[in-house]
């Protein structure tokens, strides 16, 4: 028996594909250069010239399978089929579907987000009646889609979960609000606005919720520093966490 995780095996298999994949990869934007986060001569590993590109955005192929694996059509295929049936603009609205670690993510074009969510909630075969959470993620390298608004949906009727992810560029940080569909996303969206600056259009009162009302900036963004002061301990000075060497 192989000790490798099946997904790891799949990744390695993908790496061995013909040269065309390499070309695809070379077209991707650069994620980082060098190693160990060092920008100066501190990197003696020989990896200073390393160029790591972002992995291409790929959607999962059919069959999607279910939470336990993708060998044969399962729960996730059912959800996708039902949504395709109940939402006529499926092909236009859903950019791609990602199946990872037994979870399903629909990347929804932002202009369709509210309608997709409404279908998800109202269609009896989908019936995602509970919105678990909304959270934001900031990917500064993801040009044109820097800000992601991630909505976690739960269906108590069918005992399933899916994730809706909508993106918006930094220059135009607007995503439609889901409050008309899921009133619970009120505070979640206020929090995501507060931390990331994503403006949820149609939210009844989009104000800051955790930070003071007059706060400047959106603290969870990657370009917002953590802050902190160096700490002295037994004569040695320890820099603040965001200035320490990082190993990514």
């Amino acid at each position: 028996m192989s000790s490798q995780h099946p997904e790891q095996q799949a990744e390695q298999a993908a790496d061995r594909l013909p040269a065309q994949v390499e070309e695809e990869r070379r077209e991707q934007p650069i994620a980082r250069t060098g190693m160990f986060g060092s920008k100066t001569t501190g990197d003696t590993s020989g990896y200073g010239g390393l160029v790591v590109r972002q992995s291409p955005k790929v959607g999962a192929p059919r069959p999607y399978g279910g939470p336990d694996g993708a060998a044969e059509p399962g729960e996730f295929d059912e959800i996708a089929d039902q949504l395709e049936r109940a939402f006529p603009d499926y092909g236009d609205a859903i950019e791609r579907v990602v199946i990872h670690r037994g979870e399903m993510t629909f990347f929804v074009k932002r202009e369709h987000l509210r309608e997709v969510a409404r279908t998800m909630r109202d269609d009896p075969s989908l019936r995602f009646e509970l919105c678990s959470a909304v959270s934001g993620v900031h990917y500064p390298q993801d040009t044109g889609a820097e800000l992601h608004s991630v909505t976690h949906l739960l269906s108590i009727t069918h005992n399933r979960r899916v994730r809706l992810e909508a993106t918006c560029p930094d220059a135009d940080p607007h995503v439609p609000s889901l409050v008309p569909v899921y009133p619970t996303s009120d505070w979640h969206e206020r929090e995501t606005y507060d931390f990331f600056g994503i403006v949820y259009d149609g939210h009844p009162a989009l104000t800051r919720i955790q930070m003071p009302d007059d706060w400047v900036g959106h603290p969870q963004r990657k370009d917002y520093p953590l802050g902190g002061i160096p700490v002295e301990y037994r004569g040695a000075e320890i820099p603040p966490p965001d200035e320490r060497r990082s190993y990514t």
Partner: protein, 449 residues
């Protein structure tokens, strides 16, 4: 109190008067003056700031109430007074260090915070199946003990807020016994950082199980005593029955989970419906009530504590039968050091130190790399969800393939459930606002993170 008029001693009134209406600065024992002042104004509506330092607001919760007499017209909840940036801080530490931060969110349920986070990291690593069984049993046992201690605080503080110190003292003494067990097992009473990605920090110390057994012997009687004090107490019933009504439709729309949801009659418990940590192998019932009121939520919590005792009992039986590791075997993830309790607290065991400093250079390098740099987690995102005492606690964990979390977001049940306050309180009496908030059992550390 002095007979001075409020206008004379109220330092802030003049500045604020222009905005809307007249401002009264209530410093205590001057209610008569406020009432007289309000009468002068001839305005029926009174806007009252409850909190953020009101003792019954569970920390620093602020509720802006618009009152018509004693009836609440409008309730607006303001949070953020305890925001500590835990999620941001976690982005600057290793995956393992993350537990130390997130355990401090909901400080009444630290084990749950840790477990939700660690389950998310394990899912992203793809090692969920490799976590040793013994570690999973210990996690379940501690979570259930934690559920008891958390519910006890919920009920105890609730008693206090309604003016019953007996309930408070009784609840807190039982909680104290539970915290003693935590201290015995993890070394700390709160904020343990005991659950780690891949397992738990260390095995149970010898003698811990017999202490848990003593606890199991004592606890049912204690809970019975609490029930005797509350279940059919006429004063308690008058304050809780049919108060702060929120039905299933309301819960769904507002995303409310946990005891509040189960008090509407829906047996939705993630331990049963989407099991984790092996909960499907334990025998327990999901407690429900169908009254949708504060009393129903109290009954659900009481029944849940009794069920938790049953689970803890099963855990003790299993732990007695199993031996083995409590940390994942994969040396690239599992914490290298064995911990030991020394005279000055918990630290690396002397045996491990002797090994890395005296005999094995490779072990030293490995230890150094894993402790300072940490392990890498494959890029992607995962959402883990567990049933915390307050409802669904979720962790949305995002990795970019590095040694630090790229983003961790917690779906805190307190945060979500607190949104239901206006739905529960508006149209009711001002005194019932306290009961409504207390029945949600929000912990501001979790709400604000």
């Amino acid at each position: 109190m002095s007979s001075t008029k409020y206008t004379e001693y109220d330092a802030y009134a003049a500045a604020d008067e222009a905005t809307e209406g007249r401002v009264f600065d209530v410093a205590g024992q001057d209610w008569d003056e406020v009432v007289a002042g309000a009468e002068d104004l001839g305005d029926e509506r009174l806007v009252v700031n409850m909190g953020p330092q009101h003792p019954s607001t569970h920390g620093v919760l602020r509720i802006i109430l618009t009152l018509d007499g004693e009836t609440v017209d409008e309730a607006r909840v303001v949070i953020g007074y305890l925001h500590t940036g835990i999620e941001k801080n976690m982005e600057f530490r290793t995956w393992t260090q993350g537990t130390t931060f997130c355990t401090r969110m909901d400080y009444l349920a630290p084990i749950f915070n840790e477990t939700a986070y660690c389950l998310g990291v394990e899912k992203l690593l793809g090692v969920t199946d490799q976590v040793p069984e013994r570690a999973q049993i210990i996690r379940v046992m501690l979570m259930e003990l934690n559920r008891i201690s958390s519910h006890l605080v919920a009920i105890a503080t609730f008693g206090l807020e309604l003016g019953a110190t007996t309930v408070m003292l009784n609840g807190f003494i039982e909680r104290e016994y539970t915290l003693d067990l935590f201290e015995e097992i993890t070394g700390l009473r709160m904020n343990m950082a005991y659950v780690r990605p891949g397992g738990v920090a260390q095995d149970l110390p010898s003698g811990a199980l017999s202490k848990v057994r003593d606890y199991l012997d004592r606890m049912p009687k204690r809970l019975q005593a609490l029930r005797k004090l509350m279940d059919s107490n006429p004063v308690y019933l008058a304050r809780t029955k049919d108060v702060a009504y929120l039905d299933l439709t309301g819960c769904m729309a507002l995303g409310v989970t946990g005891p509040v949801l189960r008090a509407t009659g829906l047996p939705w418990d993630l331990r049963k419906s989407q099991p984790y940590c092996g909960y499907e192998t334990y025998d327990f019932e999901v407690a429900t009530q169908d009254t949708c009121d504060v009393y129903g939520r109290y009954l659900v919590r009481m029944a849940e504590m009794e069920e938790s005792l049953k689970i803890v009992e099963q855990c003790v039986e299993r732990l007695q039968g199993t031996r083995g590791p409590v940390m994942i075997e994969d040396k690239k993830i599992g914490w290298p050091a064995q911990l030991a309790i020394g005279a000055d607290g918990m630290g690396n065991s002397p045996k491990h130190i002797a090994h890395i400093m005296g005999t094995s250079m490779e072990a030293l390098i490995h230890h150094f790399k894993l402790v300072t740099e940490g392990f890498r987690v494959p890029a992607g995102q995962a959402y883990s969800h567990i049933e915390s005492p307050r409802g669904e606690l979720g962790a949305h964990v995002v990795s970019d393939g590095g040694t630090r979390p790229y983003r961790v977001h917690f779906r805190e049940p307190s945060f979500v459930n607190l949104q239901a306050t206006p739905a529960m309180a508006e149209g009711g009496m001002i005194a019932d606002v306290i009961a409504a908030v207390a029945s949600i059992d929000p912990v501001m550390g979790g709400v604000d993170r």
